[in-house]
């Protein structure tokens, strides 16, 4: 899996999932169409007018598939709707210094790659993106690298081999667990004796 794309810089720390998708948009019973309300309250002024000063509305950021986030992205509510909104909008990878745990898991489960890099690298990518909206970054999942030849950046990132395999081969964790059901049932019958 290789992502080669322009970026959206959003250098704000502690972006919580209430900002990514406010609670009033959690009322659907399907997974579709959340992208239009991604960052709803930051993205629109009163009366549905796009907020011209919010980065997502900048014409040159429209096709970007990589989000350059601040620290502790995705904190707060466990709502997977946040990941659905990000994926539906077209973002395929997020680079940050750290993600909140539940959001990180939700991102993986929706094919979004959460990449943690050291602050200096996130900062320089963000600055470069702010300076040049046309800057492209390449993310190579197989080699676990974030590359920008223009900036001379080639950084490695960590990912658990199992998660990597799931993303590359499209392994479905749920199907994996369903296959384990006989073993889980056996475990349960022992378990009931104590708990």
């Amino acid at each position: 899996m290789i992502i080669n794309s322009t970026t959206i810089p959003l250098p704000i720390d502690n972006v919580d999932t209430d900002q990514i998708i406010p609670a009033k948009f959690l009322k659907q019973i399907d997974k579709k169409g959340y992208g239009k309300n991604l960052f709803r309250n930051w993205r629109y002024l009163e009366g549905n007018t796009p907020n011209p000063s919010f980065i997502l509305n900048a014409p040159e950021r429209q096709n970007a598939a990589i989000l350059l986030a601040g620290n502790n992205f995705g904190c707060g509510s466990s709502r997977e709707h946040a990941a659905w909104a990000i994926a539906d909008y077209g973002i395929r990878a997020i680079i940050a210094t750290q993600f909140a745990d539940i959001f990180k898991g939700n991102a993986y489960n929706n094919g979004i790659l959460p990449i943690e890099l050291e602050k200096q690298h996130v900062d320089s990518l963000t600055q470069a993106s702010l300076d040049n909206p046309n800057l492209k970054i390449k993310i190579d999942l197989k080699r676990q690298k974030v590359v920008s030849s223009e900036l001379g950046i080639k950084e490695s990132f960590d990912i658990h081999p199992f998660k990597k395999q799931c993303l590359i081969e499209g392994v479905d964790e749920t199907a994996f667990l369903i296959n384990l059901r006989p073993e889980i049932q056996k475990f349960e019958s022992k378990q009931t004796q104590l708990i």
Partner: protein, 456 residues
């Protein structure tokens, strides 16, 4: 080397290891609510699989439910559909369902303990970050996303990497008028919203041991607000008495529970030491729960306060929180919507009236809490004070129903999140203890509750 409570529970639930550091963990109890489950049930239907252990799931509606005239049809068609979907899904898959009007209905994290379902030593999940509440009973309890809700429905297990462990020890004694909400706001303001990310926290020390189960639930509830995967408290007589007062438990099980506590020589990945004497009543000043400050200090002294947050809150750094005029008080949520919280509030406001400039909503956490409050005549105290006493649900904690704080209004809230727009678009939230909320309701300003309390 000894083991921690967390390690003992985790190890007892590993079905198998799939890779280094990645375990298939068996889940004893799954709580389900209407917002994060519909897509998971759809997933089961698409795969053609049944729920593996329906008896290990308990469902309730809480996030969307109205808190006024609850039994009338829900006006918002989307909310109505979501609530109806859960009822149908539970029927189809054979899951216990406590819907609107059911005597056991309530906020998912309130009803689990009060029905005796939450028990020590368990692994507990829910598609909700405040599942950490159940850690008060010495459980591994944590929030999950909807894909994982589907996995637990389908296989009663999750593939998880083992979190690190952190001990937060608060020694000594709490001062006069300081409550468990103040303790957790203090801890979070020390650690920051990501101070415990990747960790499971054990709350240890005299301050937590002296707390009631309800106070411990308030503490564990907000573990997620400092990034922790969850938080738990050791199992003692209070834990056991609480559970056995709700449901029959045999001696063998109790002996097992007692054996789970952290061994003396167990090691944590991180240890934080704090002193109970340093903690004062606190309120938040910004748009994240780590922006607490104690009364008398300047707003600018609060920790982790950003320019952006100050601007949103319309606060000035040189001002004090004391005496900021408020518009709303919300008393409720899974943090502070239990009967003890309502008693504390009633005790302070008895015979007093709310200030004219505030609307006060008291929203019990469950039908059971509401019935108990009525039985104790707390409802009359609230009504005489000019408060509204409503029907149970999440209400203005996240404003998914009609209970929204209007744009720009300032609300003192006993809930757990003060994010931008959390209580309604443009709403400004100050997190506080039930005592502080009660005192503020009476004065119409953010008020140190100690002025209303008698020190002896």
């Amino acid at each position: 080397m000894g083991k921690t409570l967390f390690d003992k529970i985790w190890d007892a639930h590993v079905v198998k290891s799939v890779a280094k550091g990645l375990d298939v963990l068996f889940i004893d109890q799954h709580y389900v609510h209407e917002v994060t489950s519909p897509q998971a049930f759809d997933g089961l239907r698409n795969r053609g699989v049944q729920v593996l252990f329906p008896e290990r799931c308990t469902a309730t509606t809480d996030h969307n439910v109205p808190t006024v005239n609850q039994l009338k049809p829900i006006k918002d068609p989307l909310s109505a559909t979501q609530v109806a979907s859960l009822r149908e899904n539970c029927k189809e898959f054979g899951i216990d369902f406590y819907g609107i009007g059911h005597e056991k209905q309530g906020i998912v994290h309130i009803i689990g303990p009060e029905l005796g379902i939450t028990q020590p030593g368990m692994t507990i999940v829910c598609g909700d970050s405040h599942t950490s509440t159940h850690g008060a009973f010495g459980t591994i309890a944590f929030g999950i996303g909807t894909s994982q809700v589907e996995q637990v429905l389908a296989a009663q297990s999750l593939i998880l990497n083992r979190p690190k462990t952190m001990k937060i020890e608060v020694r000594g004694k709490l001062g006069f008028g300081v409550s468990s909400k103040d303790v957790i706001l203090y801890i979070i303001s020390n650690l920051g919203t990501q101070g415990a990310t990747r960790h499971f926290v054990e709350y240890a020390g005299a301050v937590f041991l002296n707390m009631s189960m309800e106070e411990r639930m308030t503490i564990c509830n907000m573990s997620i607000e400092m990034g922790a995967r969850g938080g738990l408290v050791g199992i003692d007589d209070k834990t056991i008495n609480y559970v056995t007062s709700k449901t029959a438990i045999d001696e063998e099980k109790i002996a097992y529970w007692k054996s789970l506590n952290t061994d003396q020589d167990a090691k944590f990945d991180q240890v934080i030491l704090l002193k109970g004497e340093d903690i004062q009543p606190m309120v938040t000043t910004g748009t994240a729960p780590d922006t607490g400050v104690s009364f008398g200090k300047n707003i600018g002294d609060a920790s982790h306060l950003s320019e952006k947050a100050l601007k949103y809150m319309q606060f000035k750094p040189e001002e004090k929180v004391d005496d900021q005029k408020i518009d709303y008080v919300f008393i409720g949520s899974c943090t502070n919507g239990r009967i003890e919280d309502l008693r504390i509030v009633a005790n302070l406001v008895k015979g007093k009236k709310k200030a004219n400039n505030v609307s006060v909503w008291v929203v019990p956490g469950s039908m059971k809490v509401r019935r108990q409050a009525v039985k104790e005549n707390l409802d009359k105290i609230f009504l005489e004070a000019g408060f509204e006493f409503r029907e149970p649900g999440c209400s203005a904690c996240l404003a998914m129903n009609d209970d929204k704080i209007p744009p720009g209004s300032l609300c003192v809230s006993t809930s757990n999140r003060n994010f931008e727009g959390r209580q309604g678009d443009g709403a400004r939230t100050v997190l506080a203890s039930p005592l502080t909320a009660a005192a503020s309701a009476i004065t119409g300003k953010i008020t140190d509750p100690r002025v209303f309390l008698n020190d002896n």
